[in-house]
Structure formats: structure tokens, C-alpha cells
Subunit: 138 residues, 2 copies
DNA sequence: CTCCGTGCAAAAAATTTGCAACTCA
DNA sequence: TGAGTTGCAAATTTTTTGCACGGAG
């Protein structure tokens, strides 16, 4: 039994071919920091010879999001992108010089964010933070 | 000569009625933290008796963004929202319950962000931070 | 065998574009 | 006047939904 199959079982979703394949694509690209859109995944699957519908990709991604195994981002214009949720949280720092993306994590900020929400009667569910930076002396 | 008229002059854009009206709507709502979508602004204008096209609202907002007088956000699902850029910087907190957007500013985090960049040899140019929160049950 | 899930096509929703008419400087 | 701008309609793009068939348990 594959990894994906197990993971799907845990969510209560039936281990169907489209779901397994979509999860595979997301897992394979997760180390490359490649946030993929529904369309991207769809094309990837077609190229791999799988016969899936784009609507299914959308539906499955929505189900995965509800199940808490993928995260949907609205970073980009015009379309959402998805990434598998891993255990290590990180934020992003983007170099304006060359577009390189660095990951970082800061407990002080994480803590303060929770406090800010709580001070206003909310609980922090999640956050997104991106720092746009430029190399000093260049 | 109106405020909006002056502001438009500075950008090099012709001070046309649709542009002035759109800027007015954005200015009027900026204190209410009401980040509006193109559709919102369009409906607001129609309600006020102005005869504008939705396409024009989109076009004008894009021009305003290029001119640096409004900022476009993608924190909601499905559509972008806009706000006039003012001198006081703030970040956003989005309620997952009803989509309300709150603004806040935290010097501690601002300071830490600069340090994080500097520790890695960068200078912080700008940043985006959005907290997604949920009302605490009681 | 029974549902849950799928593909397809069509619908919605969000945004962009082509173009003739219009208007501000 | 005349380049820049607009409104309208049609085109695109992104995502969702209805429905009959098909596959997993």
C-alpha cells in the first residue's frame, strides 16, 4: 500500500486513482518549492498519460484543503496555488535582486502574531508573511 | 481644483470623471478599513448615479496601481481588493468567520523583520503580512 | 451491489480586450 | 482638434456545478 494511499485513508477519502495521482504530483514537487495551480497539476497529469478532468483536480484540491493535507495560497494574480502541508512552518524572504526565495522562521514574530490576534478577541489560525529584501552593498 | 484632481495630475493621468469618482470612493472608505473589490466600487458608483462601466473600473484600478496610488491585495478568495496607499503603514488581519478585514501595526514585528533581513545581509525593502483569525468562542 | 467519485459540458465568476463614440486639455 | 479615455459587448481565464456513467469497497 502506497504512502498516498495511507494518507488518503486517514482523511476518510476513498483512495481513487485521480486522488492518488494528484497527491503524488504535490509530494514530488514539495521540495522544489513549486507551488502549483490546479491547471499546472492538470497538465502535469495529462502529460504523464493520466486521464483526469480539470474539474476533478479542482474538486480534489478543495477536498484536500478541507482535509487539511494541502494549503491553498492566493499569492499570485489570477489563480490559486497549492502546496502539501508539512510539519515545519516557515515564512518567505524574496530577494528583489535576483528573485531568490529564502525560508526563515522566527519565534518572536510567531508569538507576537498570536498576541495581536488575542488582544482583539481572535485566535490566530494561520498567517502569511513575505519580506522583500535587497542585498546590502550591491 | 479638487484633491482627487491634484492627485491624478501628479500621476500624469487625465482627470476624467470616472477616475475622479473611483478615487473618491476609495478615499471615502479608507478610514473604514473597507477594502473594496472592483465590483464593489462599480456598484457604489451606480448607486450614486454615475454611469461607469465595470471594465473601466478594472482598467482605472490597474492604472492606479501602476501609478502607485492604490495597492492591490489578494487576501480573499476569488477576487482582488484595493485600498489607497497612505503614509501610515499597516498590516492586515482577516476574519475567517465573515471576511472582515482589520488593520493593525506592530512596532515589535516591524523591528524584528528588519533584523531578520539584516542578519542575512539584506535590507528590508517592504513586506506583506496577513493574519487569518477566527473569533474566540465564549 | 451500492455509493462515492469521475469526466464532460455547461454555468458562474472574475477580469481583459476590441472598438466606435466621446471628452478633457 | 485630437490623443487619451470610456462604455458596451464579446472574449478570456479561473473555478464551480449538474448529471449520467463508472469504479472502489
Amino acid at each position: 500500500m502506497s504512502n498516498q494511499n495511507k494518507e488518503l485513508k486517514k482523511t476518510g477519502l476513498k483512495a481513487t486513482l485521480p486522488r492518488i495521482r494528484i497527491l503524488e504530483v504535490l509530494e514530488l514537487t514539495k521540495n522544489e518549492e513549486a507551488h502549483m495551480s490546479a491547471e499546472d497539476i492538470y497538465k502535469e497529469l495529462l502529460a504523464a498519460g493520466d486521464d483526469v478532468g480539470l474539474a476533478t483536480v479542482y474538486r480534489v484540491l478543495t477536498q484536500f484543503e478541507s482535509a487539511g493535507i494541502v494549503k491553498k495560497h492566493n499569492f499570485e494574480e489570477g489563480h490559486a496555488v497549492y502546496e502539501v502541508i508539512s510539519d515545519d512552518h516557515h515564512d518567505h524572504m524574496v530577494s528583489l535582486d535576483d528573485g531568490t526565495i529564502y525560508e526563515f522562521n522566527d519565534d518572536l514574530i510567531e508569538q507576537r502574531q498570536k498576541e495581536i490576534a488575542q488582544e482583539r478577541g481572535f485566535e490566530l489560525v494561520e498567517h502569511s508573511m513575505v519580506l522583500y529584501v535587497r542585498k546590502i552593498n550591491s
